[in-house]
Amino acid sequence: MPRLEGPVHFRAAGFAPKDRAWASAATLLGLLAMWQASASFGLIKSLFLPPPVAIATALWHLTVSGELWKHLSASLMRLFVGWTLGTVFGVGMGLAVGLWSALRSPGMAIVAALFPIPKIALVPLFIIWFGIGEGSKIATLAFGVFFPTVIATAGGVDNVARGLIRMGQSFGLSTGAIVRGIILPGALPAILSGFRVTTSIAIVLLVAAEMIGAERGIGAFVLSAGNLYDTDNLLAGIVVLSVLGLIVAWIIGRLERALLSWR
C-alpha cells in the first residue's frame, strides 16, 4: 500500500481577480505618455494621430470659444429626449410583455423582428416621417433604446421570484399593489443594467443621426472636422463623446447605488 507523508499544501489560490484602481490609472497614463512621446519624437505624424497635448489644446479652444457648448447642448437635448422616450415606452412594453400572456407572444415577436435591424438604416425613413429637424434624430434614438429596454424589463419581470408574487397574492394584494410593490422593485436591477446598455446605444445612434443632416451636435462637429482633415478637432469631439459616456455610466452607477442599496 503506498505511503503518504509530509505537509498538506494550500492549493486553493487564484481564480479570485481583484480590482486595482491604481493599475487602471497607471495603464491609461502610461498609454497617453507613450502616445505623446511617439508624436514628440516624430514616430507618428500628427495628421494621422494627433498627440494628447494637441487634442487637449483643441478642446480648450473649443471650450473658451463657446463652440463646444453649442454642439454639446444640442446633443444633450437629443440624447435626453430620445433616451427618455425610448425608455418610458420600453419599460411600459417590457412590463406588459412580462405580465400578460395576451401581449407576451405578439410583443416578443415584434421585438425579435425589429430589434436586429440596424437603426442607422432607418434614419432616411425617419427623415421622411418626422422631417430633417429634431424629430428624426430623436426618433432614431428612441427606437434604438426601446427594444433593448423591452428585453431587459421583460427579463427582469420574468426573474422576479414567483414565490414573492404568490406571497402577495396570498395576502390578497391587488394586481396594482403586486406590480408596484413586488414586480417593479424586483425587476429594477435588470432594468438598471439595461440602462447601461441603452445609454451607450443612444450615444452611438446620436452621433450617427447627427452625421446625417444636422448643423449642430457633436456628431455633426466630428463629421465636419473629418471632412476638413482637422484631426485635432475630430479627436477632441471623440474625447467629448467618451467623457459623455463615462459621465452617463457614473450617473447610472449612482442611481444603482441609491435604488439598490438593499443588495
Binding site: G163, L164, R166, M167, G168, Q169, S170, F171, G172, L173, S174, A177, G181, I182, P185, G186, L188, L260, W262, R263
Partner: protein, 259 residues
C-alpha cells in the same frame, strides 16, 4: 365561538395524469392546530395550497365557516417555508406592504409595532432581511402573517430551512404565539417533533397519491407541552412507525425516477 372552521370534502388533485391527492376529507376546528405529516411527495404542500386558494383542486370542495374578527384583513394567511420576504424592504417595510392600502398610516404603524413586539423584533424594524439570521427572518414571516389578524394560519414547513437549534427555539415561540392568538392553524411538516409539539389534530398522509392514513388527536393545551414530554415522544414514535415504510418507499421512488 369566534374562529374559522376549515372543511375539506373529498379533495383530490392531479398534475395531468399524476394523481397526488385522493379523497381528502378533514376539518380544522376553530382555534385548533391541524398538522399534516407524511412522506416526501405525498401532497402535503399541495393540500395546503388548495386550502388557501393558491391552487385549484381537481376534485372535491374546500370551505370555511365561522365568524371572523372585524379587524381581520386576510382570513387565510400563509407562512412560507422560504420566508418570502422582499429583500428591498426593511423588516417593518415587509409588514407594511400587506397593510398598505387597507389601513391608515397610524393604524399600520401601531400594528407593525405590536407584531414586532410579539415576535421580539422591535429593535430590528429597520433592518434589511439579508442582515437577519434564518430564524429571525421566519419571525418576520410570522409577524407579517399576524399583522393581518388572520382567522386561519397556513404554515408550510416554516422551520425546515433553519438549523436544528434555531428550529427548537422557534418551535417554542410558535407554540406560544399560536396559543396566544388562538387562530385556527394548519401546519405542514416532515418533523414529527414539531407535529406533536403543536398539533391538536395530526393527519398522517400516505405516499402518493396522498390519502388520509390516520388521524391522531392530542387534547392538551400547547402551553402545557414541552419538547421532552414523554407522552408526546411516544406519540411521535407511533407516528414514525406509521410513516416509516411509506417514507422509505417514497425515497426509493425518488431515486428510481428518471431524470
Amino acid at each position: 365561538m369566534m374562529g374559522l372552521r376549515l372543511i375539506l370534502e373529498q379533495v383530490s388533485h392531479a398534475y395531468r395524469d399524476l394523481s397526488v391527492l385522493d379523497g381528502i376529507t378533514l376539518t380544522a376546528a376553530p382555534g385548533e392546530v391541524l398538522v399534516l405529516v407524511g412522506p416526501s411527495g405525498c401532497g402535503k404542500s399541495t393540500l395546503l395550497g388548495i386550502m388557501g386558494g393558491m391552487l385549484a383542486a381537481t376534485g372535491g370542495t374546500v370551505s370555511v365557516t365561522g365568524e371572523v374578527a372585524a379587524d381581520c384583513l386576510n382570513p387565510l394567511t400563509y407562512v412560507f417555508q422560504d420566508f418570502a420576504l422582499l429583500p428591498w424592504r426593511s423588516v417593518a417595510g415587509n409588514i407594511d406592504l400587506v397593510l398598505r392600502a387597507r389601513l391608515p398610516k397610524a393604524e399600520r404603524q401601531a400594528r407593525i409595532a405590536e407584531v414586532l413586539a410579539l415576535t421580539n423584533l422591535t429593535e430590528f424594524a429597520g433592518a434589511w432581511p439579508r442582515q437577519l439570521s434564518g430564524g429571525m427572518r421566519q419571525r418576520v414571516g410570522i409577524a407579517r402573517a399576524l399583522a393581518v389578524r388572520p382567522a386561519c394560519l397556513l404554515m408550510d414547513e416554516p422551520l425546515s430551512a433553519l438549523d436544528a437549534q434555531t428550529r427548537d427555539l422557534l418551535l417554542d415561540e410558535f407554540a406560544a404565539i399560536i396559543a396566544r392568538a388562538g387562530t385556527t392553524t394548519v401546519y405542514v411538516t416532515h418533523n414529527l417533533k414539531e407535529a406533536v409539539r403543536l398539533g391538536h389534530q395530526i393527519v398522517v398522509l400516505s405516499r402518493r397519491p396522498g390519502r388520509i392514513r390516520a388521524t391522531v388527536r392530542i387534547d392538551r393545551a400547547l402551553t402545557d407541552r414541552t419538547a421532552r414530554d414523554p407522552d408526546l415522544l411516544v406519540i411521535g414514535e407511533e407516528l414514525w412507525r406509521m410513516i416509516r415504510d411509506d417514507a422509505a418507499a417514497a425515497e426509493r421512488e425518488r431515486v428510481d425516477a428518471p431524470a
